[in-house]
């Protein structure tokens, strides 16, 4: 059974949401944290609610609704989201009040909106959608877990289409803690020079990307989602990639473009360097984390990007790393390979329709 990406909408630190053109108006950031560009939420959310909603809920709801509009689908057969940290803004707010107010006179709103399933729940609530609704919260494969569920659901014929997305917000507290944990660079850097001088650490990001997956063939589909593989501490990623491609009756020679999760951190990027000198040697490669930053569901940005590259037939100059091999024009088959802190690896295969 073939599965297609019918539509996709993405809120990110770039002009990716309801924007004319595709990655043609690149935003440069100097620092180690990229903040999402906020859409005009009034189109999607009741103004009274906008004030009460945290950043991640608003981004998620806007991306989900735009994705449905683009797909011309009023009621999805299922709503599935992935997020590692969930509603961290409301979580921090409630935790802070518990400590500062010594557990007295706490307002409930932050707690109510702190549960990890809030985004998926709010989408269901706004659509009055009673169908399957789930949220995956597994670190760097939260989005892939959601996508895996969506693929199974379509294959089981339990839904005609599935709205699936990845959402993550960065707040001052998480940025500070993750910086202390050594995830980000110690010096400010231009995101556009992220790969120029590799050093320790990356840059933080955030965003929300949603996809409407369907088994229905249509000329309006963005791309075909051909395969997905999630790996935990693989012994050899090179072998895993070969096996994955083989399971789809492909070899690396069939891949026109590889989008990798390079993030500017020397240690993180080691594996991509190795592969660029081995299995990816003769394949065009592209990067994306200089545009959106590193975050646990950043692969949802990569999938949005791959779908749009396939639909438009153009690899934007800003993402191409090694496009000398000529095949990068009008790619037909894209492999996305990302890993999160060298533990969780994922492979996504996307093809032109």
């Amino acid at each position: 059974m073939k599965l297609y990406i019918r539509s996709s909408a993405c809120v990110s630190p770039q002009n990716t949401f309801n924007h004319e053109g595709f990655l043609n108006d690149i935003v440069e950031y100097t620092g180690t944290r990229l903040k999402a560009i906020e859409p005009d939420y009034k189109q999607f959310i009741d103004p009274k609610q906008i004030r009460r909603m945290s950043h991640v809920i608003k981004m998620g709801v806007a991306a989900a609704k735009q994705c449905l509009i683009d797909a011309d689908v009023a009621m999805p057969g299922a709503i599935i989201t992935g997020t590692a940290l969930g509603c961290i803004e409301d979580t921090v707010t409630f935790l802070t009040r518990i400590i500062e107010q010594q557990e007295e006179l706490l307002p409930p709103t932050a707690f109510i909106q702190s549960t990890h399933n809030t985004v998926a729940a709010q989408i269901a609530l706004m659509l009055k959608c009673h169908n399957y609704n789930s949220t995956f919260v597994h670190k760097g494969i939260s989005f892939e877990s959601a996508l895996f569920d969506a693929i199974m659901m379509l294959k089981e014929l339990d839904a005609d289409n599935v709205l699936v997305g990845g959402t993550e917000e960065m707040v001052d507290t998480s940025f500070k803690v993750l910086t202390r944990l050594g995830l980000y660079k110690r010096q400010p850097i231009s995101n556009l020079l992220l790969f120029a001088t590799p050093s320790k650490g990356t840059i933080g990001g955030e965003g929300a990307a949603f996809f409407l997956l369907t088994g229905k063939d249509s000329a309006d589909n963005l791309a075909e989602l051909t395969g997905l593989k999630i790996l935990y501490k693989p012994k050899s990623i090179e072998e895993s990639i070969t096996t994955f491609l083989k399971s789809h009756l492909l070899t690396i020679d069939d891949i026109d473009l590889v989008i990798t999760g390079r993030n500017g951190d020397i240690k993180n990027d080691e594996v991509y360097e190795l592969l660029n000198n081995s299995i990816f040697k003769n394949t065009s490669t592209a990067n994306y984390k200089h545009l959106c930053g590193e975050y646990p569901v950043s692969s949802s940005f990569a999938l949005w990007m791959a779908a749009n590259i396939l639909k438009g037939g153009v690899v934007p100059e800003i993402v191409g790393e090694d496009t000398n091999n000529g095949e990068a024009d009008s790619p037909k088959t894209i492999l996305i390979y990302n890993h999160y802190q060298n533990k969780y690896h994922s492979l996504m295969l996307v093809s032109a329709i």
Binding site: F94, Q102, E103, T115, H130, N133, S142
Partner: protein, 399 residues
């Protein structure tokens, strides 16, 4: 896709027992697990009863050979998950495609709370070790590593229906031939975060909770973990002992009414129960026992009761809320109650709904109040409903 999924092992820890055998004794003796708060440093001590697991982190660590300074959520998970795997005694486990699908709602919040006190005073302070495993996924990863599972793992968090959805997802991983064996369920430890959160919603009973009673006043929070081991038909045939039962039906529906409250007509609960029946190709009359979500809040029990009335009227099976023993264990409740549902089939028992006195005015039925043994139980429905309108029902069937 049509192959059956079998339950080969069970494991549980809650306020009424540190393993499955202790739970069975507590049920029979009608011993509830609630009491004063002893583990949390909170102003609610002596005011709000909770259902604590009766072991400190040092004791849990000793049982699991994990360090004592990690999140209690992980320690509880490890106790129950390893019990379930030992119970299943699957031959050649290491040669099979295995997975761990675990759920929780608080993650490492107990440790993050400690971190945050110092962090708030000075953002450069606070032991990073305490916040390193804040994410819900960390609990799953630590336990999967310890159990030697690496083929597949993920974490689900849909509030109070989390671990029912984990079991549901696990069954589909087997049916889709992704895995042969999955340990699935969930875990949650009591934290100041959840205690205060539920307190702000004014749905905590200051006395021991009275699910499905006309005069119910709210829930008691609990903690624990519960897991079932799901296996494919092929693996089932290699087992040395008979499997407990099958997971024959499941459904996840959304109430789509309010972020925290249930709709008066219980739309989500109704759709979940109805969908699970349809999946298992059963009718309401086939259900021999319902393990209720039954939190004891006026809103939940009214919505769930109304939905049961719509679906089951006029023939009501025996039903009870085991939260009258364990309190509401949030992300763990679906896993713990799945274990209870499986045991109800295995030992032909129905658990009493403790402290029930007065039938709810709007309902023509009431929960079972006595411990019943020797019951002919073929099919058990287990309900788990949560914030965000997330409603999931599971059906377990005798083989």
């Amino acid at each position: 896709m049509s192959s059956s999924v079998y339950i080969a092992g069970v494991g549980a820890i809650s306020a009424i027992g540190n393993n499955v055998a202790e739970h069975l004794v507590s049920f029979k003796n009608e011993e509830a697990g609630m009491g004063d708060i002893t583990l949390l440093d909170t102003i609610h001590r002596k005011k709000l009863p909770v259902a604590e697991v009766k072991l400190g982190n040092d004791e849990l660590a000793a049982m699991t050979s994990l360090p004592a300074n990690i999140s209690r959520t992980t320690l509880l998970s490890m106790v129950a998950a390893s019990e379930s795997l030992t119970d299943a005694a699957i031959p050649d486990f290491g040669l099979l495609r295995t997975g761990f699908v675990s759920a929780n709602s608080v993650g490492g919040m107990d440790k993050s709370e400690d971190f945050f006190i110092d962090f708030l005073a000075d953002n450069n302070k606070g032991k990073l070790k305490n916040v390193f495993d804040h994410e819900c996924g960390s609990m799953t990863e630590l336990v999967a590593d310890k159990l030697g599972i690496s083929d597949f793992m993920t974490t689900i968090s849909t509030a109070c229906s989390s671990s029912a959805n984990a079991i549901f997802y696990a069954a589909r991983l087997i049916k889709n031939d992704v895995l042969d064996v999955v340990i699935a369920g969930g875990t949650d430890a009591l934290t100041k975060f959840t205690l205060n959160g539920f307190n702000t919603l004014m749905i905590l009973d200051k006395e021991f909770c009275k699910p499905f009673d006309e005069h119910r006043e709210g829930l008691n929070l609990g903690e624990g973990a519960g897991y079932v081991v799901l296996v494919s038909e092929k693996v089932m045939q290699t087992l040395a002992k008979d499997p407990y039962c099958k997971l024959s039906g499941y459904n996840n529906s959304n109430d789509a009414y309010h972020q925290t409250a249930s709709s008066p007509e219980g739309t989500g609960s109704y759709l979940a129960m109805q969908g699970a029946l349809k999946k298992s190709e059963l009718t309401p009359a086939d259900i021999d026992y319902i393990n209720l979500h039954g939190t004891g809040t006026p809103n939940n029990d009214s919505a769930e009761g109304t939905a049961i009335k719509r679906l089951f009227d006029p023939h009501y099976p025996p039903m009870s809320s085991t939260k009258s023993y364990t309190g509401h264990t949030l992300g763990a409740s679906g896993g713990i109650e799945a274990v209870f549902s499986v045991l109800a089939i295995k030992y032909s028992i129905i658990y009493p709904n403790l402290r029930f006195e007065t039938r709810m005015e709007e309902l023509p039925f009431e929960p079972e109040t006595k411990y019943l043994s020797g019951q002919d139980i073929k099919h058990v429905m287990s309900n788990s409903f949560g914030f965000g309108g997330n409603c999931t029902s599971l059906i377990f069937s005798r083989i």
